[in-house]
């Protein structure tokens, strides 16, 4: 097929426009990749000359910054375990039992959770945590996130479990398994991809959060990385760009690594039921 001239020009124009839009999105990412390795990084994009790890040395020399990464890990992993375990058990029960009004329960929880994790609920959350004597503890952050994320996690997982035929567990029970055995041997492995989705989603949520730990935590040695980034501002409020860039890169690595790991291990792929 012969391309007419106008179609040819049109295609070039379209590609150029697409490239321009792409570049607009790529620039901040390029800065994000270059700046940490540039000892004289500024807000403008520049190739590091020379490439150096001095920014990272400074970051790792800062005890507060390193402790904050560790704190982020404690809070995220703690929250993920709680959300993952509780959501799995709750979603399984909601999906498989014949409780009246179980649908309504999920939807009401879902509705309230969007309020609970929003900033409107910050004052009551602070008061509750304070009354429980948990202010300035990892547990406060973990519990608050678990409360906020659980309904959505349950909703996602329940949907997932609903799509898995009951006959898996039924066949296990007929074969002689107790309900608990049937759950661990048959149901759990089949719903594991759904649990992985929930785990990744809640990890990313907790790892990236700022407001809740900022409000519930006070002492420097409890703060997660998202809050600690503020320590790379001078007292006048201007960012120390070199450190900020290096720390941001370190801060985003766990999430990237988690995605890659899950994608390699599970491929975000679901075991379908056998064709019915």
């Amino acid at each position: 097929m012969k391309l007419t001239l106008s179609a040819f020009v049109g295609r070039i124009a379209f590609s150029a426009l697409a490239a321009l839009i792409g570049a607009a999105f790529a620039l901040p990412l390029l800065w994000f990749l270059f700046a940490p390795f540039n000892a004289r990084a500024e807000l403008g994009l520049a190739l590091p000359d020379p490439w150096t790890l001095s920014n990272f040395v400074t970051v790792f020399g800062n005890n507060f910054a390193v402790q904050a990464l560790w704190n982020s890990l404690i809070q995220s992993v703690g929250g993920v375990i709680l959300v993952g375990a509780a959501a799995t058990l709750a979603a399984y029960a909601l999906s498989r039992s014949s409780l009246p009004g179980k649908g309504a329960v999920t939807y009401i929880l879902l509705l309230f959770s969007s309020v609970v994790s929003g900033s409107a609920a910050m004052v009551p959350i602070f008061l509750i945590v304070s009354a429980a004597g948990l202010i300035d503890t990892h547990l406060a952050v973990i519990l608050t996130f678990a409360g906020g994320l659980l309904p959505t996690a349950m909703f996602i997982l329940r949907d997932f479990i609903d799509s898995i035929p009951k006959s898996y567990e039924e066949s296990a029970m007929v074969a002689g398994a107790s309900p608990v055995q049937a759950f661990f041997d048959v149901a759990l492995p089949v719903i594991r991809p759904g649990i992985v989705v929930v785990v990744v989603w809640s990890f990313v949520n907790i790892w990236g959060s700022f407001l809740i730990p900022f409000i519930l935590l006070r002492s420097d040695d409890q703060m997660p990385a998202s809050v600690a980034i503020y320590s790379f501002y001078s007292e006048a409020g201007t960012p120390i760009v070199t450190l900020l860039a290096a720390y941001s890169l370190i801060y985003s690595l766990p999430v990237i690594v988690l995605y890659l790991f899950v994608s390699w291990k599970f491929g975000f792929r679901f075991f379908g039921g056998i064709k019915a």
Binding site: P165, E170, S171, A175, I274, A276
Partner: protein, 367 residues
């Protein structure tokens, strides 16, 4: 192996009775098919034997023991599911051996036994595959192997062949038939396919709307259907049913319907009783008992040709009696019949079935 018994079992879901007051017993070593259209309660009945549903009323007995409130795991039963329910994360060996795993058997015993059963079912070479890597027929045999890997009192089948293509289904049906007679197992088999039920069962329970309409051997169900429902459900194609207006006198019964010419039948007491309620009866003739005749002889049905379907060795010739329904004949012929042509189908009086106005069979003299 053991017997199974239902004593006045009712199962309600809300206000809907899936099974209403059903009682029957299955002898040791019998192969019973629960046959009926979807929603007739056959699967619910099977699930109550398995313990996956609990009866609202009544008792379920296995081997003479009341197991109504037993958990499935305590019933010593095997079940093959319609969707096979193979565990997608386990290979075939682990799938087949799962019942042995929950019974605490060692890995070597489990895999040894799984191989034995798999070899019998000709899937021994697939043991380290995942269920998603084998064909539908192989999946079906895997689920059968899982049911056979341990000794059970009763083997339950929930439409196990309905996901197979026609050729595989015939093959699997023959194999199941041989296996059951060979092992002498007590089997309960749910199906909506009357041919499957006829081929496999020692007795068939035909179900409709939560009740058992007839419970008898396949040959009796075919020869003496208890109701028009059974007559219309069993047979391929099912029995032709023609509404007739009856009158009697001088010890003979005269039936009249459009296009129907029938010699008077001998009058009996039971027919008299049926006619006392209504003069409307239903006449039934199986398609295989009809043949093409010339002219207007007695014992014929005459109507315009509706369809002529060639099935290879035989043809299905259907005539349309306008508002009164259609009649199909199964005949060995390759006659050139033209659409719209008038066709006469003849039958002999001993092949006539009569049903009263409620659809119940009127026994012929000597039945």
């Amino acid at each position: 192996m053991a017997s199974v018994e239902f004593r006045s079992v009712t199962k309600s879901f809300g206000s809907f009775n899936a099974v209403s007051d059903v009682s029957f017993s299955i002898g040791d070593g019998e192969f019973v098919c629960l046959l009926g259209p979807s929603g007739c309660g056959k699967t619910t009945s099977l699930r109550m034997i398995a313990g996956l549903e609990t009866p609202t009323l009544g008792q379920v007995l296995i081997g003479g023991q009341d197991v109504t409130h037993y958990h499935p795991k305590d019933r010593q039963i095997s079940m093959v599911f319609q969707d096979y329910a193979l565990y997608p994360h386990m290979n075939l060996a682990d799938n087949i051996a799962y019942p042995l795993k929950v019974r605490g058997k060692s890995v070597s015993e489990r895999h040894g036994r799984a191989r034995e059963v798999a070899d019998v079912l000709k899937i021994g070479h697939l043991l380290d595959r995942l269920p998603s890597q084998i064909s539908g027929g192989q999946q079906q045999r895997t689920s059968l192997a899982r049911a056979l890997v341990y000794p059970s009192q009763v083997y339950l089948f929930d439409e196990p062949l309905s996901n197979l293509d026609a050729k595989l289904r015939l093959e699997a049906r023959g194999f199941l038939n041989h296996l059951q007679r060979d092992m002498g197992m007590t089997a309960v088999y749910v199906t909506h396919d009357q041919a499957e039920a006829m081929a496999l069962a020692t007795r068939i329970a035909v179900m409709d709307q939560g009740r058992i309409v007839q419970y008898a051997s396949p040959i009796e169900i075919y020869r003496l259907p208890a109701t028009t429902f059974v007559a219309n459900f069993v047979g391929n194609p099912p029995m032709n049913l023609v509404e007739v207006e009856a009158s009697h006198g001088n010890g003979s019964l005269q039936l009249r319907a459009d296009g129907l010419s029938i010699a008077p039948l001998p009058m009996t007491d039971v027919i008299g009783k049926a006619l006392a309620t209504s003069s409307k009866l239903t006449l039934g003739v199986r398609p295989e008992h009809l043949h093409i005749a010339q002219g207007s002889a007695p014992n014929t049905i005459t109507a315009a040709l509706f369809a002529n379907e060639n099935m290879g060795p035989e043809s299905l010739v259907t005539v349309d009696r306008a508002d009164a329904g259609r009649v199909t004949a199964r005949i060995f012929t390759d006659d050139h019949l033209q659409l719209g042509e008038t066709v006469t189908l003849a039958f002999s009086p001993e092949h006539v079935h009569l049903f009263n106005s409620k659809g119940d069979r009127i026994p012929a003299a000597g039945e």
